[in-house]
Point group: C2
Amino acid sequence: MAHPVKIAVVGAGSAVFSLGLVKDLCLTTNLAGSTVSLMDIDKDRLDVIHKLGERYAGELKANVTFEKTMNRREALTDADFVINTALVGGHDQLGEMRQIAQKHDYASLHPLTGMGSITPAFPQFKLMLDVAHDMMEVCPEAWLIQSGNPVFEGTTLMSRQTKVKVIGLCHGHYGYRVVARLLGVNPDEVSWVAPGLNHLIWLTDFRYKGEDLYPLVDDWIATKSEAYWRDREANPDKYGPEDYMSRAVIDQYRRFGLLPVGDATRGGGWWYKTDLATRQYWYGPTGGFGSELEAPPRLARLARQVARIREVACDESHPVLEAFPPVKTSEQQVLIIDALTNDVTGQFQINVPNQGALLGVPDDVVTEIPAIIDKGGIHRIHVKPLPKKIMLEVIQPHILAMEWMLEAYLTGDRRMLLDGLLMLNTYHGGAQTKSYKQAAEFLDEVMALPFNRELAQHFK
Amino acid sequence: MAHPVKIAVVGAGSAVFSLGLVKDLCLTTNLAGSTVSLMDIDKDRLDVIHKLGERYAGELKANVTFEKTMNRREALTDADFVINTALVGGHDQLGEMRQIAQKHDYASLHPLTGMGSITPAFPQFKLMLDVAHDMMEVCPEAWLIQSGNPVFEGTTLMSRQTKVKVIGLCHGHYGYRVVARLLGVNPDEVSWVAPGLNHLIWLTDFRYKGEDLYPLVDDWIATKSEAYWRDREANPDKYGPEDYMSRAVIDQYRRFGLLPVGDATRGGGWWYKTDLATRQYWYGPTGGFGSELEAPPRLARLARQVARIREVACDESHPVLEAFPPVKTSEQQVLIIDALTNDVTGQFQINVPNQGALLGVPDDVVTEIPAIIDKGGIHRIHVKPLPKKIMLEVIQPHILAMEWMLEAYLTGDRRMLLDGLLMLNTYHGGAQTKSYKQAAEFLDEVMALPFNRELAQHFK
């Protein structure tokens, strides 16, 4: 029996994300009769997504109504669920930041998390808090599904500063499937547990039909890894731009005794990233996520996808179902909405305040953990502790960096940004500043960017 | 009424420290009839201190008996108090380490604390645990007064691994007296509170006859600091080798809103220490503690003091009271023994497991805090919290580094030492490693030192 709901999508102009959402919603009969309020500050992008949604529902004869608005409060009114996927400034600003970082010799500055990421993390914090505060006034009972980065820092911030019921989502954990296939087993028959912080999760449990897969991992490393890496180097086009079993991943496995999974495979330490050649050795031919070889084609690919979605949406003569076949994505947003609304209990990988689920993490810090979700809400599954070495070298430094970022943001203390650039190192690279001058000049240049005017005023 | 006790001194060959202890003991009539068992593995140094003690007590007609032994368990037998002042390898090994660090371009490696200090921190841990374990068997009711570095890490380790009643002591907090004099007020009429971790304490309360001294600090900075720094530069001999109101101290005050005091004034960040000229700007003409201008003369001065003590102790024709007048030191060891033994309640600055005294520090981490000590034991005085910025930028990173060191030590995991060199930055400088190769080669060279053979075996 269908329970219609109202879903508000903040930042609906994110075309690729919204296409997936449209498909999943139209294909979920449990949610028939629902209304989706698409909201964006970019009218043009909003129109495209709205048209796509209407046409998709129409062709599929799905009973989903798509509305559009540029007024956030209007979108939130009477919402049962709010999905926030907005990225302030979009990918262009990210790219500009990356260039300035490189100019100032910050090779391994992570673009979204860690203190190095002056922007867009702080504008994202502001937006997230604005959405959460609006929800407290307009739809206090609604669930907020945070789908834009930085999930870890932002979800922690919102859950501390407001009473909003928030769940942070990411898709990094699906990396276990790539590893399973490399090991030669069917991912659908694999069970796994990978707790941690968002972008920093570790396979504490990894089984195929109940049997521990780690012996197979050891065997793969001993007998197949070298040939695999050589093949990647010889035939880069055969593989994706990121390697979930790179030398960096295996080195981390040797250091910590567990496999990092998903976005965690992009980390390990700044010394894997000191220059392109070093990156290529550790992360494969593209140099891994965020390198000068990986980022431009990824952004170009994204731009082509966006252009394609626009083209299809606006070409009434072209059936959208043909361009984008009606197959559900692997994203969790709609499944979770369904589980919270209807009688379809499920297990998910979510980011919520820890509340004791992972030993050694304070209750009010958001961890990425498995949880059962049903009409009664979310039910954290307590996980076995991570090895102390991972806690000390990865989790705790990252929590410290998060607390540092949040305190800097909440106080507007610019010196904390500078100190962070000077002192913080995290698993994803950190700043690794070489001189005081370097950090101060980088910070000044970032703050002087036209799109950072508000940020510069906030950080006195 | 005197209550005689037995005091064991481990590492009694530390001549300067032991001279002070001999004086304080001989001048404390409450402890008349006490026995002091001097213990050292260096027979020659031990003989000198023993002779000094016997002659000092004899000339002063003090009722204190000095015994000597090279057997630690013999010294500990029936002890009421154990003072551990031993430094494995002594200052020569420290100097050798400092040279290797400089060769590998580690300008700001702190010699005793932080992960950079592979040695002698770890040999010190071993010795501390050996002493504490011996005490558990030989004199389980005795108090251990830990007087050798690293006090923070070592005292935390011993208090977790054994049931020993341990108090860590340092004299850094007396730095408030230098600051008071610079401000033109009588240090004897100053009240102060300076909690934190050992070597990282901050004046949260600083009063002259009850009036807050911070406005006077602000006035001094605005009107007198520049002239003072110029005078130090023009007349370095007029001042001591360390500046407790250096530009680095004032910069830290501006960053954190409180004055760091004592050994905390030596820190602030690696960027104050990138080369000698930078050090001299921030810490004064010698470049501050540990610089190539400060360390050699300090070690030479120490060597001269040691030679002088030896000379006097061995020259029976020379009255020791004349060479070393009977005036008590400002050290707390004997005062605390007196307070724990007799009816003389006192307030002290001690290092003990936090147990809630300083907000935000786990119970089982040793903090430096004020405490009332009497026959009933130690009574922590809860202090007001440190500013969140100090907790985030100073205290918590230092606790993390301590936990990292202890875990590395307890597991013998050599990779944790390397990772620490690569990733840890602390307030006292940290490693600030520029390349993986640099860290790996430095670690290898340190581990290959003849005096580190045992260490290299421990860290597989």
